[in-house]
């Protein structure tokens, strides 16, 4: 990625500001995911309210960054690497906002389980492991963005395959459990919802990484299974 | 530097304006001196010669009696000599100017030619006269005729015509020339359709200024021996001459003896009879009139032709 500066320092400042805001938003999303995992593991529901409120800030971030992108395009008519950066940021920010929503869903799911009087059962560690893998993917995707590291981004995309596999295995176990003991159905449904949210977080991290590859290399590798080998 | 207060600015402007006014006044004074001198000269001639300015003055030949001495042969002679001068100098000078500016390669040979052309303009006119005497009058055998005089004066103003032509051509922007060549025109087509038409105002001005100078040249004409007492006109083509009843040819006038205005004036001033002073003054006034009107024509022509040429 070119490190040299534009003749227009204002342009450099615009781009620097955009990247900083994306990383700030990303940091906030990471915190949300971590908090929701903590709520699931500990069963403490006080944090859930905070998570739900913080999600509003994430939404505000998305709007502000998209607005900023539009102004930079209008003012600077960016091309080549600058254009790819702006386009990439716009899409990354969408995925980050949705990731935030998924974290909110996890938190709300935890509250429902708690209100119904249940506790996370023996699937606790499996879910937790899945959630931490997804969080790690999000962290690495944002790192790849910060450093404009195409190789790191590709590794995140590959990691999503494992997350999907693990998610499917958890679902199978839950189904088996439900068939064995119908009293666990209500709780299991909530846990399925939580698992799906975690799996989606992994997908969003993959999307973010695909955009990083787009910005760095100019390749659009979405929906292209061949590209990540 | 600190920013100036409005008051300081005003003081500065006032000082500058004063210098402006002083310079303007000086300029006007110098201009006035020049104009005044001309006006005095012309006015003086007018006053001294006004008694002679009548139709007979213009239509009468020179005579031993001052009151009846006219300038007919002189102004006709001047006109005819100018005709020959123009006919010789214009084609030669313009063609030379075009060649030097458009076709000739820039090397040391053309540099030397360029220097020598400007040197030609500095040659004293009497030297031209001597040259003409040897070559035109004797070697070529043209004799003491309008032809010799015309050719001599043509040589005299040749540098002016060449330089005017070159300057006029140089004033044409390169992109007009490039525009013509870019369309596939040859050098000559570009010259014919663009260079010459656009340079015409400048060339004409140069030619007329040259002629205005030539009309007043006395020394070379004397040297070739323009007779000072001429009481006849050069033969008009296709009319009978008094001599032997033969009809004059188309170009017989060119070989005829003649006189010109400056010579006539010179002749009258060297007469002992003070009455001829008036004649000389009147003729001088007429000569000034001819020169000034030629310059006026040059200015008017240039204005008319410049109007249509905008880059």
């Amino acid at each position: 990625m070119p490190e040299s500066l534009h003749v227009s320092t204002q342009f450099d400042e615009d781009l620097a500001r955009l990247r900083t805001h994306v990383l700030q938003m990303g940091g906030l999303v990471e915190t949300q995911i971590a908090a929701s995992i903590e709520a699931y593991a500990s069963g403490e529901v006080d944090g859930v309210r905070v998570i739900v409120e913080t999600d509003r800030r994430i939404n505000d971030f998305e709007k502000a960054i998209d607005d900023d992108c539009a102004h930079v395009i209008a003012r600077r008519q960016p091309i080549a690497s600058d254009l790819r950066l702006i386009l990439g940021i716009s899409k990354i920010v969408t995925d980050l906002e949705r990731t935030g929503d998924e974290a909110k869903k996890i938190a709300k799911g935890v509250r429902r389980i708690h209100d119904a009087g249940h506790l996370p059962n023996q699937y606790g560690s499996g879910i937790r492991h899945l959630a931490e893998a997804a969080l790690s993917m999000v962290r690495q995707a944002l790192d790849a963005f910060a450093r404009m590291d195409g190789a790191l981004a590709l590794s995140v995309i590959r990691a999503d395959v494992e997350v999907d596999v693990e998610f499917k295995s958890i679902i199978r176990q839950l189904i088996t459990h439900m068939m064995e003991d119908p009293r666990t159905i209500t709780a299991s449904i909530d846990i399925i919802a939580i698992s799906r949210a975690i799996e989606r977080i992994g997908d969003h991290a993959k999307n973010i990484s695909e955009q990083v590859v787009f910005v760095v290399e100019g390749r659009d590798i979405r929906y292209d299974k061949e590209a990540i080998r | 530097m600190q920013t100036m207060t409005p008051d300081q600015i005003r003081v500065l402007i006032a000082r500058g304006k004063m210098k402006d006014t002083v310079f303007q006044a000086l300029g006007i004074i110098c201009l006035a001196i020049g104009l005044l001198v001309i006006l005095l000269l012309v006015g003086d001639m007018l006053m001294r010669g006004v008694e002679r300015l009548n139709i007979e003055f213009f239509t009468g030949f020179a005579s031993r009696r001052a009151a009846q001495s006219g300038i007919l042969s002189a102004w006709v002679g001047s006109l005819l000599v100018m005709l020959v001068t123009a006919a010789a100098a214009v084609p030669l000078g313009v063609a030379a100017g075009i060649y030097l500016e458009e076709y000739a390669r820039r090397n040391w040979v053309t540099d030397i030619i360029e220097i020598n052309i400007t040197n030609l303009a500095a040659v004293p006119s009497i030297v031209y006269g001597l040259l003409a005497l040897g070559i035109f009058v004797y070697t070529f055998g043209f004799g003491q005729s309008i032809l010799s005089a015309g050719l001599t004066l043509a040589l005299l103003i040749l540098p002016i015509v060449i330089v005017s032509t070159r300057e006029a051509i140089r004033a044409i922007p390169a992109m007009i020339r490039e525009g013509s060549m870019a369309v596939g025109a040859t050098r000559w087509q570009t010259c014919r359709y663009h260079i010459i038409p656009y340079a015409m105002p400048g060339i004409l001005t140069g030619v007329i200024i040259g002629l205005a100078r030539a009309i007043g040249e006395t020394a070379p004409i004397i040297t070739i021996g323009a007779l000072t007492f001429i009481a006849f006109l050069p033969p008009v083509p296709f009319t009978a001459t008094g001599m032997d009843g033969a009809t004059a040819g188309l170009f017989d006038w060119v070989m005829s003896p003649f006189t010109v205005m400056p010579i006539q004036i010179f002749n009258w001033t060297s007469r002992p009879d003070p009455a001829f002073e008036a004649n000389a003054a009147a003729a001088g006034f007429v000569l000034m009139g001819m020169v000034l009107s030629m310059n006026a024509v040059a200015i008017w022509l240039r204005y008319r032709m410049r109007k249509n040429i905008k880059w």
Binding site: P2, V7, R84 | A182, T186, Y193, N308, K310
Partner: protein
């Protein structure tokens, strides 16, 4: 009877979707090619071994910072340098379909200029009537028939997108037109002789944005019939108007490619730096 789409239909549709910009007949033909072209102003080497294709009936743009040699390169195509002493070419410019070397000493520059037209940076109509401006190129080719001249002049003025504005005043003097109109007149003048290649040397740098837009529109129209090579210092213009772009720097050709690719992801770092405004 219409059945369910076969896999062939689906494949074709997908191929079309994959590259909607691609036309199946789009194999670009060569109109001209610079081969190892160098140029010297006296002792100074202004162009250094340029190799570059010019594709038939496409617009090729030359971009680069001041002094990079793009105008020098452009003016080699119609031998403009021959008008001034001390210039020297090395290498070739091959012109197709006859494979002539435009720079060869055996080829008369006038012949080259009859096949290659030029529009200059500052509009330079002759100080003559509008009609005479356009008719000039035809006159120098020996065309004298009044009817034919009028016909061809009208054709050229229409092709230059200026006929409607001047058809009632063909005898007016060209310099009375506005700057944008003058430039379109100059384009019409160049088109009158039906050149095979049309050179534009920063044609809109002296014009306001609306006149610029009109000329860019005209260039897009013209390329259907004429090959166009355009020098511009305005990168957005190169992006808007050209099919191929060449980036030059200090007399060398740094990169040449399809405009879409150069402006999305150029191969050379120097090209990227220049077009994104990172130089200096």
């Amino acid at each position: 009877m219409v059945g369910p789409p076969t896999s062939q239909d689906t494949n074709d549709k997908l191929k079309a979707l994959k590259d909607p910009m691609m036309h199946t007949q789009d194999k670009p033909q060569l109109k001209a090619e610079a081969r190892n072209l160098s140029f010297y102003y006296g002792a100074a080497k202004a162009l250094k071994g340029i190799n570059m294709p010019i594709y038939d009936r496409k617009v090729t743009a030359l971009i680069g910072p001041s002094g990079c040699g793009k105008s020098t390169y452009l003016r080699s195509f119609n031998r403009m340098h021959d008008l001034y002493p001390g210039n020297r070419y090395e290498g070739e410019i091959r012109f197709f379909p006859d494979n002539t070397n435009l720079l060869s000493a055996e080829v008369d520059p006038i012949e080259v200029r009859m096949r290659v037209g030029m529009v200059f940076q500052k509009p330079n109509p002759f100080p003559k009537t509008i009609f005479e401006n356009v008719a000039y190129g035809l006159r120098v080719r020996g065309l004298t028939s009044k009817r034919l001249l009028e016909e061809k002049v009208e054709q050229a003025l229409r092709a230059g997108a200026i006929w409607d504005e001047v058809k009632d005043r063909l005898q007016a003097l060209a310099p009375t037109l506005s700057g944008g109109q003058q430039q379109r007149l100059c384009i019409a003048r160049a088109l009158a002789t039906e050149p095979e290649l049309l050179l534009f040397d920063e044609p809109t740098s002296a014009l306001d944005p609306i006149a610029t837009g009109a000329i860019e529109e005209l260039v897009s129209e013209l390329k259907k019939r004429v090959t166009i090579l355009i020098v511009t210092h305005n990168m957005q213009q190169a992006a808007r108007v050209s099919d191929y772009t060449a980036y030059m720097y200090l007399g060398e050709m740094i990169e040449f490619g399809k405009t879409d690719e150069i402006f999305f992801k150029p191969n050379d770092r120097r090209t990227e730096d220049y077009i994104t405004g990172r130089m200096g």
